[in-house]
């Protein structure tokens, strides 16, 4: 298959970027999108030109490293996949493919298609955990967890932290990412003890890092490669309101919160 690629090139965080058009020929339809870029980069290197920089690692849709805004959609035209799981058979021979990095203030471009997503780590550090140290834990079966709750918690915990939700959102909101983590813990008895502190701390950090607000468009859910539901956002809002109204104390800066 042959394609025309319009790729965002940007030397570094400070440089001005631009689209550059390239041609690529002889791509197999069973190639993945990133394998197509591998072939492209090998050609660039052979010609002595800079290969295009993009993030990728596991290439099986679970590490959340790969990104790419492809023809106006995060992770491209297929549903419920990451870019590394997108295959060229989803395109037509001769297509023009536009490839951009994630676009969000909180995810600045590092180079070409590579962005800085440390903001997500900071949100987790603000409260996306259960405060237990290693050891001295009661038996794993000591606390029963209804199967439905464990399953719903797992649905939320399946988030891979890729940032597609932010990239898809017109407000660059991180609500789906944060809500998934809040829900994952809120649905488990182990996460209940510090639920009110957690949701407030994570939301405050999200706001501080420059992510936008949620206006219920639902683009995040539509583009999420792991099909995380926006029900989680509703749950987070409920948790947040409950915490705000119900909490007696201020959010104490302690134990990471």
């Amino acid at each position: 298959m042959d394609f025309t690629l319009k790729i965002w090139r940007q030397k570094n965080a400070k440089a001005k970027g631009k689209f550059v058009t390239y041609k690529i020929n002889g791509i197999s339809d069973s190639s993945s999108f990133l394998e197509m870029l591998d072939v492209f980069n090998d050609q660039q290197v052979t010609k002595g030109e800079d290969p295009v920089v993009f993030d990728h690692d596991c290439r099986e849709g679970i590490c959340g490293t790969c990104s790419l805004y492809i023809n106006g959609r995060p992770h491209g035209p297929d549903d419920a996949v990451t870019t590394c799981q997108l295959h060229m058979r989803k395109f037509k021979d001769g297509d023009t493919i536009v490839i951009e990095p994630w676009r969000s203030k909180a995810f600045p471009v590092i180079r070409d298609l590579m962005v800085d997503r440390q903001a997500f780590d900071k949100i987790i550090q603000a409260g996306g955990f259960i405060s237990v140290n290693t050891g001295g834990i009661p038996d794993a079966n000591a606390i029963l967890i209804p199967k439905q709750n464990a399953d719903s918690s797992m649905d939320a915990a399946a988030c891979i932290g890729c940032g597609a939700c932010v990239a898809a959102c017109k407000n660059a909101s991180a609500m789906l990412f944060v809500a998934a983590k809040v829900s994952h813990f809120a649905l488990l008895p182990q996460g209940k003890a510090e639920a009110t502190r957690r949701v407030q701390a994570m939301v405050a950090k999200m706001d501080e890092l420059g992510f936008g607000n949620c206006t219920n468009t639902g683009a995040c859910e539509a583009e999420c490669p792991k099909e995380i539901s926006i029900e989680n956002i509703a749950r987070m809002n409920r948790e947040f309101l409950g915490a705000k109204i119900g909490s007696q104390k201020k959010v104490v800066k302690e134990g990471g919160f």
Partner: protein, 646 residues
Amino acid sequence: MTKLNSKIPQGPVATKWSSYKDHIALVNPSNKRKLDIIVVGTGLAGASAAASLGALGFKVKAFCYQDSPRRAHSIAAQGGINASKNYQNDGDSVYRLFYDTIKGGDYRAREGNVYRLAEVSGSIIDQSVALGVPFAREYGGLLDNRSFGGAQVSRTFYARGQTGQQLLLGAYSAMSRQVSLGNVESYTRHEMLDVVIIDGRARGIIARNLVTGEIERHSAHAVVLATGGYGNVFFLSTNAMGSNATAIWKAYKKGAFFGNPCFTQIHPTCIPVHGDFQSKLTLMSESLRNDGRIWVPKRKEDVDALRHNKMKPKDIAEENRDYYLERRYPAFGNLVPRDVASRAAKERCDAGFGVGETGLAVYLDFADSIKRLGCNVIEERYGNLFQMYQKIVDENPYENPMMIYPAVHYTMGGLWVDYDLMSTVKGLFVAGEANFSDHGANRLGASALMQGLADGYFVLPYTIQNYLADQINVPRFKTDLPEFDESEKQVQARLQKLFDVKGTKPVDHFHRQLGKIMWEYVGMARNKAGLQKAITLIREVRAEFWKDVKITGEFNEVNPELEKAGRVADFIELGELMAIDALNREESCGGHFREEYQTPEGEALRNDDDFMYVAAWEYIGDDKTPVLNKEPLEYEAIEVKQRNYK
């Protein structure tokens, strides 16, 4: 002749670990704050170690090459984690998990380490549940289990097909909490390029900041390498693209011995290779063998008809199917260990019964289970795996059997460590897949997650403390010491040397070449002539690489080609060591199959008289043959037998 002391505690195997813990030296809380520990790698072993050491009060610096610690390749582990909880009342115990692991490893692992692993396995589950890992549960609210290869009990805990992800996110969240408490500093997009040794002890690392290109110095009282395995030597493997051996290879060159480098695990159930530009192979979890039956056609005419699309697999009558694992191994059937299943698949394909376009595939068929349990149960158990398969292959596995073939997945070999998980370099600890310790010649399914977390949560916090106890008066190290100067100079020189080649071919070209040689001659079946040939060919690739590799871009910027070049240069050297080790080991055991040494039925034939040892290779110079050191293996609690899964 051996310089190796495994430091296994005295006494019966069942009390070694508790007696060790009773007698080690400890560091009091106010002194812990004065001691620094570097942890390289943030997978299960690294993240759990950083979290646990940070919680104890040590000052930890955690490094990873990824953009977030959460993305380490442990995240991709699918099937599950073993623990001897015996929740199923089916006869499990610490001893049985210990026994299965030793037997699965074909009697090439150390008893003391493996018993400890089995002993702490239950605590890992407790710890993970407390951290919020949403393991699968039954309707009554208790934890669910499934079976895995090499065991006759159900002891595997799982979170759908994403167990590694959930366990890693648990360890990552614990580590994140320590970051917020100020006990752990996280350095992402950093790659370790050397270990710094001062007065015979590991005291720091040289790392490259992958965003700015800057070479950085970091000092500490102890260094932990938890940088994973080296399966990417084969180019195509189930590892992540960035998974590499550079950290352990640099440590090897600084004096850490390399244990059993040839012990590689070829996983039986991966999606077959499809073309020349493929970049990696995707695993289909071993858990699928719980409900899937593996077969190929019995008749050559059916093989032809399938290959020419004149027939569908479901058109082949039951009596014309060869369920070869059930036929050869009735007791374990489709749940034989991975090495056995892989070789059996290769045997059928080599005999001309393979399916698919290339003839290098066998069927993994769910039709019977779907009939017995219903589609929805199968979907609940394996939904994400089926989806993954469909996306890659463009075929519906609910309707047609999956096609699978073995692929490189895990390396049992790694840096040699003693009972403390310390390498032959003092103060340099190695955890998880990066060390050689617990799996012998073959790792059982769902044991990698167990080992990574055992090392990080429950072993290193004790053994590092024991090591550091007499160093509470050693002040923090400055990074302007001559040892740091020297190390940084070497790192700079090597990077410059890579740039200066200014050849014509991209890095991947050499990596692919290396991979082909390794797969052909150092893969699933090996022999003397092939291994000798491999060594010659690898040396040729190495010479050509240093003559003709081309790296674009600059030093002080994001430069993935430069990163890859450094890693591939190390893989080439490591590939040669693997071939040397495989040549030396004149026996078949576990994943190491030498064609010269097999039983009449084609099973691996060990030679316990001459090879019941760990081969620990010592680096003595770039163009010198490494020196072989032997650690004899002694079995006290287990009787050594030929493995039998019939």
